[in-house]
């Protein structure tokens, strides 16, 4: 090894060290979906709760209860603003959990709904949120079967936080999971990326940027069903939420110990998302979606998978964006538009907090 290679090797070893939270206090970065979030999750939550079901840190845990194969997931939603073009915290909370179930290969069935309301929150806004949860649940074919409401004093919340947990049933034999990904697999994305995150950021109004953009929030269960029917060789699916597509790719590369090589040109991005990203100096690959997923599939089935996704309204602009290789393991590489190649690492902190 030359000196540079020795250094890089040392770094890779350092990166494999047990994660440790160095901060004394929680910062916004811990909630951004990037490295700090991952460190917090692994060093504190995984460390304490460690068990084989939690360990994969997938979108949903796969359980076997009384002979039934179930998926269980949860997410809290703290998006600001609560209402934004294309959606609100209500449909986000339903779609987000439906999607975590769907991408785990489960048929979403039942949701829980937990509300943390701030004293003074307008009842009319609550009704609007609950109505859009109802509509989203109906669209996704799930029922909200149990719930909880807490009220916190003014100044101890931000209007309305929603938690949903979801249960689905895994009808399909075999296991999905990042660990099943292997060299030669194809990487697909179900549509243009980053619209949700940029929409939220613009909806805050602080940037004074106008754009004809709406959130991509949508339930993916139908698209997943179509995909799985056409391509049994699907290895893993993930919805690209906080941290965006790049974060999902890194999680999979890390979990599977493979290299993921992505063709930047192939990644679909709406012009307005690109414009806002350039203006703000951020990369759409790291911007959250709420109705897009990344799919790893047996390379031989890439075309079938792509065709199946494109045949579904939510996958019309699906694209093959990359391939899995064996080296360098655990890294995501990007073949840039310009023809160069670079690493596409986890971000330390997301520039867009509170997007979901």
């Amino acid at each position: 090894m030359n000196p540079e290679e020795q250094v890089l090797d040392r770094i890779e070893r350092a990166r494999r060290r047990r994660p440790k939270v160095r901060e004394e206090r929680v910062t916004l970065a811990h909630g951004s979906g990037g490295k700090a979030t991952r460190t917090l999750v692994e060093a504190i939550f995984l460390e304490a709760f460690r068990n084989p079901l939690l360990e994969p840190l997938e979108d949903a845990a796969a359980l076997s209860v009384d002979g039934a194969r179930l998926a269980l997931t949860t997410d809290s939603f703290v998006v600001s603003p609560l209402f934004f073009p294309g959606g609100d915290i209500g449909d986000l909370a339903v779609n987000g959990t439906v999607n975590d179930l769907a991408v785990s290969g489960a048929r979403p069935l039942y949701l829980t709904a937990g509300f943390i309301l701030e004293e003074g929150f307008p009842i009319a806004d609550l009704t609007r949120i609950v109505d859009s949860m109802r509509a989203a649940a109906q669209a996704a074919g799930v029922s909200v079967v149990t719930g909880d409401t807490k009220v916190v004093q003014r100044g101890k919340g931000d209007g309305c936080y929603v938690n949903t947990a979801g249960v689905g049933v895994i009808d399909r034999p075999g296991r999905l999971g990042a660990a099943t990904v292997r060299p030669g697999d194809a990487v697909l994305v179900s549509g243009p990326v980053g619209a949700h995150g940029i929409t939220i950021m613009l909806a805050r109004g602080e940037l004074d940027i106008e754009a004809d953009l709406v959130s991509d929030t949508a339930p993916l269960h139908g698209l997943v069903a179509a995909l799985l029917a056409a391509a049994p060789g699907v290895r893993v699916m993930r919805d690209a939420t906080r941290g965006g597509v790049a974060t999902v790719l890194n999680e999979v590369a890390g979990a599977a110990g493979v290299a993921v090589v992505v063709d930047e040109r192939a990644v679909p991005v709406e012009p307005e998302v690109r414009g806002a990203s350039e203006l703000l100096g951020i990369d759409p690959l790291y911007v959250a979606c709420e109705g897009r997923m990344v799919v790893f599939v047996d390379g031989a089935e890439a075309d079938a998978a792509l065709a199946a996704m494109r045949g579904h309204p939510l996958g019309e602009r699906a694209a093959l964006i990359g391939r899995v290789k064996d080296d360098p393991p655990g890294l995501v590489l990007l073949n840039t538009v310009f023809g160069g190649t670079r690493i596409c690492d986890l971000l330390v902190g997301d520039p867009l907090p509170r997007i979901c």
Binding site: I209, E210, P271, E272, G275, A276, E278, L279, G281
Partner: protein, 90 residues
């Protein structure tokens, strides 16, 4: 930090002549054009945007010249490659 992005001026705000609405790939923002007061800015002009200010006007002739130079290199290269291929085929 020195991030600058080209955008097209769509209109000068009627009530605030130091502000222009500028379009970047379909995204619009009011940009301060006070630093280009001397040259003057009109709809259709392209400007370089930095932290909410237009820092300079983009000179389309210069841009065209640069492109022509670059494309010329590209063309020459392609010709060369093509020639190389031909010679190999033969």
């Amino acid at each position: 930090m020195c991030l600058g992005i080209p955008g097209e001026v769509i209109e000068i705000l009627a009530d605030r002549p130091d502000l222009a609405r500028v379009d970047v790939s379909g995204v619009k923002r009011a940009i301060n054009i006070g630093l280009l007061a001397e040259e003057g800015v009109e709809p259709g002009d392209w400007v370089l945007i930095h932290v909410g200010f237009a820092l300079s006007k983009i000179d389309e002739a210069e841009a065209k010249a640069a492109m022509e130079f670059l494309e010329g290199i590209g063309k020459a290269y392609e010709d060369e490659i093509a020639a190389l291929r031909e010679s190999r085929i033969i």
